[in-house]
């Protein structure tokens, strides 16, 4: 296996008399496609951190004055910024699909007053609501409402 797990992984509270070898983990544990998906899921946190930086920069420019705000807005039209926003959008959709599509159907409470729905129904409800809210926000931002 070669890779080392945490030396205390699954260690008993009271050590036995027999000497044991430290726990190992497969060196290629990250190689399976489904594990890579999980790692990518976690790595999107970096994208959100950077996106948060952009928001802080815009807030700072807004407070600084009209010239700084106009400069910041011009900066947003830079192709690199547009590319970054596309990456952020793809990351958000990927995380939403994995979290809502995989975790939510499993997470339904059992034994309560509500029936347990089929995974397909849960996904349809969640993704339907997601699409409806996205359309509503897009319409508001485009000036269609208010």
């Amino acid at each position: 296996m070669a890779g080392a797990a945490h030396p205390e992984a699954m260690a008993p509270l009271k050590k036995g008399a027999t000497r044991t070898a430290p726990p190992q983990t497969p060196a290629s544990w990250w190689g399976a496609p489904r594990v890579r998906t999980y790692l990518l899921f976690g790595a999107t946190g970096i994208v959100y951190l950077l996106a948060g930086g952009v928001v802080w920069h815009l807030a700072w420019a807004l407070g600084k004055g009209p010239d700084a705000w106009a400069t910041a807005l011009r900066g947003l039209s830079n192709p690199l910024y547009i590319l970054f926003h596309l990456v952020t959008l793809v990351s958000l959709i990927f995380v939403g699909v994995r979290a809502f599509g995989t975790m939510m159907p499993k997470m339904q409470p059992r034994g309560g007053p509500l029936p347990v729905l089929a995974p397909g129904v849960v996904k349809a409800v969640i993704f339907g609501a997601w699409a409806a809210i996205t359309c509503l926000l897009a319409t508001i931002l485009a000036g269609g409402i208010f």
């Binding site: 992984a9 699954m10 044991t20 430290p22 983990t25 497969p26 544990w29 995989t102 499993k106 059992r110």
Partner: protein, 248 residues
Amino acid sequence: MRVEITRFDPDKDEVPKTQEYEIPVQADWKVLDAINYIKDEVDSSISHRWSCRMAVCGSCGMMVNGEPKLTCKTPLSAYSDSIKIEPLANFPIVRDLVVDIDGFMDKFRRVKPWIVRAKERAEDMEALNEKGTYSQSPAELVVFKQFSMCINCLLCYSACPVVANEPEFMGPAAIALGHRYNLDSRDQGDRERNRIFRGAGTVFSCSFANECSEVCPKNVDPAAAVNQAKLGAVIDWAKGLVLPRGGA
């Protein structure tokens, strides 16, 4: 077929090493049959655990080509000319393919994996006996049956990246079995278990890799149990805040 097996003798070896064997195999063999052949015909010094040979006892879990597998259920024909068999990942190695599962037993006890009842009065017991003590309908059984199918093979612990890196983590099987009792209509210990589930190293340490459910040989879906337990622990906490006597 070439079979590579991890060898470790605590009296002689500092670290585990690999030993290779060339053996004849039959088309219908499982991986466990190959290990048993080596033990019986080639090298009797190999140590491994097994018992029922029909995916019920959960004792023959090992890493096969880097994946946690129940070796009595895994056909040898699924692999090409060579195969690598190692002890379960993330567990201290006692000898060869045998791992120390005491760490799991310690975590398992914490979730109180038994039916907890409030202290019963004599007249309540009479009423219970009249309608059949702790009777349970098929519908009530269905609620938790999936989670009661766990055979404690510990493949989920070997697959979980959180177990590998966070020794405190209670792990998938222990949480799934604790949740199984929380869902049991005869049980009254859910508040105790939810308090445990809200503690450090329990349900909220799970980052939903979902690997436990991928490798589970009995389709228990421990990831579902862990995430339902998260919701249950939060609802229980909220009830404690807003309802008189915590909603009890």
